[in-house]
Each structure stands twice: as C-alpha cells, then as structure tokens.
C-alpha cells in the first residue's frame, strides 16, 4: 500500500511536469511593442521584398529593428511603400507583394486578419483614411510607364474588407482628405484629381503641371502639393533635365480649385518628400542640392556642371524664401513630430546598406542618430 501511494505520488509529479513543460509560454517569445515612440517604415532593397519596421522608444531612447519579424516570426514579404496610423491600427502599403496590411497597435502589436490582397490591389502606393473607409492609390498593371493608364483608387471598407475600384488613369500617388473631399496626385498627368467622398466619384481636377507627388493639408481651404523630378528626357543638358522651372511646391485654394501660388524650388529631390511645421507656415523639403558651374570644360569644350550635396531646407510658404538647414547626407524623407517638436530625417546610403534616422530639434541641431534597416522611407509617431 505504501509503495502504491509512493508510485502514485511520483506519477502525479511526473504528469504535472509534462504538462507544464509542454505549455506554450508566450512570455518567453521575443516581442517589441510599438507604443510611445517613432515607427520607422523601411522599403528594403529594390525588388527583394525585405521591407521592415524599426521602433524608437521615447522612454528608453533605444531603437529596435526587425519589429515585424520579431513579433510575427515571418518576413514582411514586401517592400513598404508607405503607411498611416488610423484608429490605433498601423496600415502598410506592401509594394511588390501587392498587399495592404492592417496591424493592431492597441492593446499591442498584433495581426488578427490576413493582408488585403488579390487582383483588386495592384501596386498600392499611398493611403488616407476617414471613418471606416481606407482610400488607396494603386498604379494597377502598367503597360506604358509614361501613361499608367490602369491606375485607380481602391476604396476599402475596413470592417468587411470589401474593395471598390474607381478607375483614374495617370498614376495616382499622394492623397489627402480635406472635409468631404479627397485629393489625389496624378503623377504622369500633372493634375490633382478631386473626389467627392459621399458619392465616391471623381468630380474634377486641378491642372498643376510637372509631376505632382505628395499632398498635405494646410487648413480647411488650402492644400499643398510637391512637384519632383519631371523625367523630361528631351531636355538637355542633363543638369536641366529636372526642368527646374517646374519643380517646387504648389499651394492650391480648394474653395475655387485654383493654384494660388507656385514656389519654385529647382533643387527638390526625386521623391519630392516634404513635411509642414506645426503652424503650417513653413514646409521642410529634402532637396538634391543646387547645380553649379565648376568653371571646368570637358573634352568637347562644354562647361562642366556638378550638383551640390543633398540638403534639407525650409520654405516660407508666404515669401517663398528657401533656407538650407543641413546638408551633406543621403536624405530620403523628413517627418515632423508635433508632440515632441522634432524633425526625424531618414537617410539611405544605397539600396543595400542599412540606413539611419536622425532626430533634430526645430533649430536643426542633432539630438540623436538611430541605426535602422535598409531604405527608411517614413516615420510615424504613436
């Protein structure tokens, strides 16, 4: 009897040990939460679908890279073209894999639904959201890159995930919502299209020329659009290929849909990336640097022009005055953190080397430099 009790006791201990050791211990898996800090979206290497996310915590002042893979145990599997935070969700445009990812951030980073993909999401570029609707600019299948005839706006119901496609040729790119209107930059047509959100139809357009890229809202009657590299190859010499006369920022009065002001910025970088100050009186742009005559001649006797290093400049939206703030880096994008009153400037040395994000105060004094992944493109704050 004693032996039986003893063996029973051992058996109970052993069985308990088995179940305990087999339990799925979630706490031991690495996890990076992304609250109270800066979320850095990285495009990754060209055509390698290795986009990723880094997170900088305000509290610890430390940066964690490979957030997506750490938290999901799988690769992101696409290049992150852009993203937004809407209703405590991180929404990512997955280029090359043609998908839209919706990631919960509250209570923590979590994926509870599959990405939105399939034949209705082809080459997603940018998005904006209002209420329960997500508006995504998509290039569609491209037969002729100079025309981009199959681009469209995908309107996604965030509850049902149903997609409505509204065709609009011209390579839709940057988007902005002001009141009940959506403004979409048509990269190849040189226009900004206007959509009425109630009817979900395009009702008009504003011709602004060159290649409109990004749009931001200044106030309830003005938006601002960047024009970047025109890729007008018929222009020679090469230094003028950027069609400097047409590069810069356009301020549009949305009450009468006219271009109120064009600020020429001949050095605006290929991405046309910019952000606005908190009072919207200034824009901050990533620029490619002025071209200058070196004074030397080539073997055909022609003047040799070179371009100054890239810089970040401020633009007074009233006077149009351009002031260089920093220069010499491989700047890609600038994002203003209104909560901390700081600028986060992304840099990328090349298409295969990890990049960085540098934090500056409003006087452009460097605060901290963060090492992140390949090709950082955008910083969001949450």
């Amino acid at each position: 009897m004693k032996n039986l009790k003893f063996f029973l006791f051992i058996a109970i201990i052993a069985i308990s040990g088995v179940f305990t050791s087999c339990s799925d211990d979630e706490d031991s898996k690495p996890f990076i939460d992304v609250k109270d800090g800066a979320i850095v979206l990285q495009y990754g290497s060209y055509q390698k679908q290795n986009g990723e996310i880094s997170f900088y915590s305000y509290a610890s002042q430390q940066v964690n890279n490979s957030v997506y893979k750490t938290n999901t145990e799988v690769d992101y599997g696409a290049s992150i073209e852009s993203g937004i935070i809407h209703n405590n969700k991180l929404i990512l445009m997955g280029n090359e894999a043609d998908k839209v990812d919706i990631i919960d951030l509250d209570p923590k980073f979590n994926i509870t639904s599959n990405p939105i993909s399939g034949s209705d999401i082809i080459k997603p570029k940018h998005c904006v959201a209002k209420g329960n609707k997500l508006y995504v600019s998509c290039w569609g299948s491209v037969a002729d890159w100079n025309v981009m005839a199959n681009s469209y706006l995908a309107i996604i119901d965030l509850t049902t995930k149903e997609i409505k496609k509204v065709a609009k040729a011209g390579g839709l790119f940057g988007l902005a919502i002001q009141d009940n209107k959506l403004y979409a930059a048509s990269y190849m047509k040189g226009e900004v299209y206007i959509m009425d959100l109630a009817s979900e139809t395009f009702t008009g357009s504003i011709t602004i020329g060159s290649h409109p890229r990004f749009i931001k809202v200044i106030n309830d009657s003005k938006i601002i659009v960047s024009h970047n590299n025109s890729q007008d190859y018929s222009v020679t010499p090469a230094k003028d290929r950027f069609s400097s006369e047409k590069l810069g920022l356009s301020i549009i009065n949305t009450t009468d849909n006219t271009v109120e002001k064009f600020i020429k910025i001949s050095t605006i970088g290929a991405d046309g990336n910019f952000d606005l100050s908190s009072d919207k009186s200034k824009a901050y742009i990533v620029a490619g640097g002025d071209w200058y005559d070196t004074g030397e001649k080539d073997k055909d006797g022609k003047a040799i022009w070179k371009q100054k290093p890239a810089n970040v400049s401020s633009v007074d939206l009233t006077s149009g005055e351009l002031t260089e703030k920093i220069s010499g880096g491989k700047y890609q994008a600038i994002d203003f953190n209104s909560e901390k009153n700081q600028f986060y400037i992304s840099e990328s040395p090349d298409a295969k080397t990890p990049g960085s994000v540098t934090i500056y105060d409003t006087n452009f004094k460097e605060i901290k430099k963060l090492s992140v992944g390949i090709a950082p493109k955008q910083v969001l704050f949450y």
Binding site: N50, A143, W145, R241, V286, P349, D350, K352, T353, A375
Partner: protein, 622 residues
C-alpha cells in the same frame, strides 16, 4: 536527293526565323565583338573547367542555366525560370565574359548575359576559363570567361536529327539539325522551338496569419516561348577556310513575379571569316555584326547594334614558340528609350599573345592587350602563366600551374547614360588575379582517377554599385578581395561492357567586401561553399543512368542579411537509351526526373522555382 531536301529545309527555316517584323531605326548602328577564337591555348596557368559532355548531351533541349547549375565553380543567380545570370569567384555576372566564336554576348546596356536564353541545342562544347583574362578576352573577363562552341564535322556526309520533348508544366521542345555538303561546301543548320507554360506551384509571398503558413499558388505569369536558328556555311580550300555563321534568336517570356509584364528579345549574331593556314603562320580576318533588340512590355525599346572587324596573324617558330598578333575595331551606337544623351562610341585594341615551350615539361605564356576606348583611358592588361609537368608518365602525371593576370570592365551603357541617373564620370573596374593549381591523373588497371585543385586570389577595384543618394545611381564604391579553392575529382571505372563515372566538385569562397568603407565577409547571393556530384552508369553505348546532385550553401540577399537563403540540395536522374532502327536510322530516348525530392525552393526571394518535374525526349537521327 537527300542533300537537296536538306538544303531546301535549311533555306526555309532560315527564312521563317528571320521573317520577324520589328521596328527599324533610321540611323546605322554598328557593332562590338571581342576576339577570342581559340585563345585558350594562351591561357596557361588558368584553371580551365570543361563542362561535362554528358550534361551537355542530355540537356540539348534545355538552356545553358541547366547545364551550369551542375557546375560547382559557377554560381547561378536565377530570378525565376526565365532570367539567369552567372557569376564566379564571388564577383557579379557583369564580370564574366560569355563568348561565342569571338563575340562577347554580354549586353552592352546591362553588362551581362541572360543564360536562360542560350539554348544548348546549338552547342557541343562549353568551357570556362576562371580568373581575370583581360589580355586574352578584353573587357568583362574579370571573374572568368565562358566559351560556347559549335563546330560541325567538316565532312560532306549528310545527317539529319529531329528531336521532340514533352515535359511537365506544358513543356514542349522541337528541334532539327541538318548537315550536308557539296564539293568544298558544308552547310549546317540547327533550329528549335520551345514553348513552356511554367504553371508550377510555388509558395505565395503573402503569409496566411490565420492558418500560420504560406499558401501554395500556381505561377500565372512565367511562360516562355523561344525559337532560334544557327546556320553555318563553310568553304574549304587547300590552305584556307571561309565561313559564315548566323545565329538568330526570338525569345519571349512573361516576367515572373509580376502581374502581366512581358519581355521579348530578338538577337542576331552574324559572323564571317577567312582563315589562311600555312605551316608556320596563319591569318584570320573576321567581320561581325550583332544586333540585340529588347522590348519591355511591348513599348520600351532597348537596342544596340554593333559592327566589328578582327584580324589576327599567328606565327609558329621552330624553337617552340607561338605568337599571335592582332587587333580589332568596333563601332557601337545604342538605341535605348531611357538614353537621351545618345552617343556612339568606338573601341579598338591591339594584342600580343606569346607562348613558349621552355623545355618538354614547361610551358610559359605572356600576353598583352591595350584597348582604346573613346570615352575612357584603359590600362594595359598583361598576363603571365606557367605550366610545369612534374611527372609525365602513361599511368601517372602531375602538373603544376600558376598565373597572374589583370582584367578590366568598361562601365555599361546603363550606368553611364540611363535617364537622369547615368553617371558619365564613372570609372572602369579593374582586377588582379592570381592562380595556383595542381592536377594529377593516375591510371591503375581499369580505374582512372583525376584530381584537380586550384587556389586563387582575386581583387577588384572601383566596383560599380547602384546607390540611392537620394536617387538611384551608379558609383564606384566597392572593392572586393576574394580568395578560394576550386577542386574536382573524377573516377572512371571500366568493367567489361559497363562504365562507371563519378565526378565531384567542391568550391570554397572567402570574401572580403568593402562597401561604403565598411568591411563585410560575404557578398550577396554568393555562397561560401557549393559542391556537385554526379554518377553515371553506362552499359555499352546503349543504355545509361545518370544521377546528379548539386548543393548551394547559405547566402544572404543583401548586406543587412535581411534574408538567409541557399542551403539548397537538388537531385536529378536521367535515363538514356539508344536504339538502332532499320538501316541508318537511330533513335535515342531520354527520360529525366528533375528535383526528385520536390523541393519548392527560391534562389532569389519571391521567385519560386519548379518542384519535381519530368521530361521525355525522343531523338531520331539519320
């Protein structure tokens, strides 16, 4: 009668292949070729790898990618099933010259060759000279030089060969070879048509977070339709040979990984030549014309035409020396949609190749090439090599070899002129290469064993990489210092009517890459280790079984080590049976099972490769 029929077939096929309509340009474009015919004699001390003839024979309906994938010293980078480039010794595909009869096939715009568009049906020999050989082959020969050879028997015997293949994923191949002769004239043609739907299963890129797996989907945009013809005409004289070769390709493929993008390539390579041979000297004169016409999505044109004339004088002395003096002139004029500053360019070169027999056991070679380019100052590229036969008996021989050579690469047209990112100030890449090798063969009874071991050191400066600053553009940023070992072993055993042949090769690569002043010990897409094995069992000349295994070690796809790839093992098996039919008719049957273990692998992330697949080939020969 048979000869007339064959000649009529030749005429029709050439007409059909060439009846392709494409947009012509109103400006004469001229061409570019490198002289390399039979230069291999002067590449003393280099590690030369001859591709297994069994591999070439069983892959007649395949492309060069399939053959080279089973060669350990060659690293194939496949972007899906329709695009493949090769690299060696850790340098890129832009640093391997791919030559056919003196023509460097590498694209002038991209700098490399898509070897998936090179059909094995036209070639009966392929060899690879490892290391820099700028003196012998000109630009591009930094990592190595691949030579494709197609030389029919120059007798007037008529032959016809028909081949038909059926394979998995809707694969069809039809090929015809014919040869005949009239008096001193020999005519030969090879033509093929290949259609491959490639609707194989791959893992989707989009992870299913609910089912916690990558779902399998069918490839929908990976079809290939290729056709081509190689026409060769020879006229034999007492001491002379006049020849004409025309190689025409019409290649179309859907771009795997995209929704519906397509690419088509039309390529014309036309060579004529006159050779005059006497006992102590010979003269070669060859003009070439090459046209590459590519359209992307039926709109964007990338085209180049090149014309070149090569001339060589070869001298042979009574004191064991061979000298080759030569030169060439090229005119290049591109037509590319993204080049707005179009420029024509000229290139010429003078070279001296010298080989000396020092003793019966020692050969020495020294070669020099000076290339002249309208846009650049090219350095003199010398090379020095030695072969020493330490032991030279019937049943045992041992040879040591060493070589030093320089190489260079003229920047591609894209890196100089593409849109607004082309950099006209970009410098040529330069290399220094050292090789040390040992080769040995032992024969004992029915067993022959061959061992080859070669160590090398290769450094390349001014390596061109594409950077973002803020726009994508090329710059001279990198340098690499690579060293490694290339080894192979072969056992041949004959037993009565059976022959057993085992071949193994192992490749080790150690990289030192300096990118943006940071040092890395790896280079993307290049594994540090790879090996191949093959075993062939042959019964008389009737029946064989051929098993191959190739392994590619792990590698990363970028400097940040975003994806760990590689660690891929693939097994193929091929059965062959030769059947003698009535009179002079012979039939050959090949059945292969490729990727026996059904490994759904990716060479490049996001580009799935086919799993297990089958192919049956039937060849009828008269």
């Amino acid at each position: 009668m048979k000869k007339i029929v064959i000649f009529a077939i030749l005429y029709c096929i050439v007409g059909l292949i060439n009846a392709q309509h494409y947009k012509t340009n109103d400006t004469i474009r001229l061409g570019e070729v490198s002289v390399n015919k039979n230069k291999i004699n002067y590449a003393i001390g280099h590690n030369k790898i001859s591709i297994d003839s069994t591999l070439i024979n069983i892959n007649q309906s395949n492309n060069l990618t399939t053959v080279l994938s089973n060669t350990a010293s060659v690293n194939i980078l496949q972007t899906g099933v329709s695009l493949a480039t090769l690299s060696v010794r850790g340098v890129s595909s832009n640093h391997v010259a791919v030559n056919f009869d003196g023509i460097n096939l590498n694209s002038l715009t991209l700098g490399h060759s898509n070897i998936s568009d090179i059909p094995m049906f036209f070639f009966n020999d392929v060899d690879l000279t490892m290391g820099s050989a700028g003196a012998i082959y000109g630009s591009d020969a930094i990592g190595g030089t691949l030579n494709l050879k197609s030389t029919p028997n120059l007798n007037s015997k008529s032959e016809i060969e028909l081949r038909q293949d059926f394979g998995s994923f809707s694969r069809y191949f039809t090929g015809l070879k014919a040869k005949t002769g009239f008096g001193n004239y020999i005519f030969s043609i090879a033509a093929y048509n290949k259609d491959h739907k490639n609707d194989f299963e791959v893992y989707d890129n989009v992870y299913d977070h609910i089912k916690k797996r990558y779902p399998k989907v069918k490839e929908e945009n990976a079809a290939i339709q290729n056709k081509g013809a190689l026409l060769q005409i020879f006229k034999k004289g007492t001491n002379s040979l006049i020849f004409f070769k025309g190689w025409f390709e019409d290649n179309f493929h859907e771009i795997q990984g995209t929704e519906n993008e397509v690419m088509s390539n039309k390529r014309h390579r036309i060579i004529a030549g006159y050779k005059y041979n006497k006992k102590s000297f010979s003269i070669d004169i060859s003009p070439y014309y090459v046209k590459d016409y590519q359209t992307y999505n039926k709109n964007d044109i990338i085209a180049t035409e090149r014309f070149c004339i090569n001339s060589t004088i070869k001298l042979k002395t009574n004191f064991g020396s061979n000298i080759e003096l030569g030169g060439n002139y090229k005119f290049i004029n591109p037509n590319v949609h993204a080049y707005k500053d179009k420029k024509s360019e000229t290139e010429s070169s003078l070279f001296i190749l010298y080989k000396q027999k020092i003793t019966n056991n020692i050969d020495l070679s020294t070669n020099f090439r000076q290339q002249f380019y309208s846009e650049y100052k090219i350095p003199l590229t010398p090379s020095l090599g030695i072969n020493y036969r330490v032991i030279n008996r019937d049943n045992f021989n041992l040879t040591l070899n060493a070589n030093y050579s320089k190489g260079f690469k003229i920047p591609t047209l894209n890196s100089r002129y593409w849109g607004n990112v082309g950099n006209p100030d970009i410098k040529p890449e330069k290399s220094n290469n050292y090789d040390f090798g040992i080769k040995s063969q032992i024969k004992k009874g029915n067993l022959t064993s061959t061992l080859s071991l070669n160590a090398y050191y290769l450094n390349v400066n001014n390596l061109i990489i594409w950077i973002t600053s803020p726009t994508l553009k090329p710059e001279n940023r990198d340098k690499v210092k690579n060293k490694g070992i290339e080894s192979s072993i072969e056992f041949k055993y004959n037993l009565s009517d059976f022959a057993l042949i085992y071949k193994g090769a192992y490749n080790y690569l150690k990289v030192q890459q300096i990118n943006n002043n940071i040092e890395y010990d790896f280079i993307e897409y290049s594994p540090s280790q790879s090996f191949t094995n093959s075993l062939k069992v042959q019964y008389k000349k009737k029946l064989y079984v051929y098993l191959t295994h190739n392994y590619k070690g792990k590698y990363y796809d970028d400097i940040a080590k975003s994806h760990k790839l590689g660690n891929i093992s693939l097994y193929d098996i091929n059965f062959g049976y030769n059947l003698k039919l009535i009179k002079k008719y012979n039939a050959k049957f090949n059945f292969s099972i490729n990727n026996i273990t059904n490994n759904l692998y990716e060479i490049k992330k996001g580009y799935g490769m086919p799993g297990r697949n089958y192919n049956l080939g039937i060849t009828l020969k008269i």
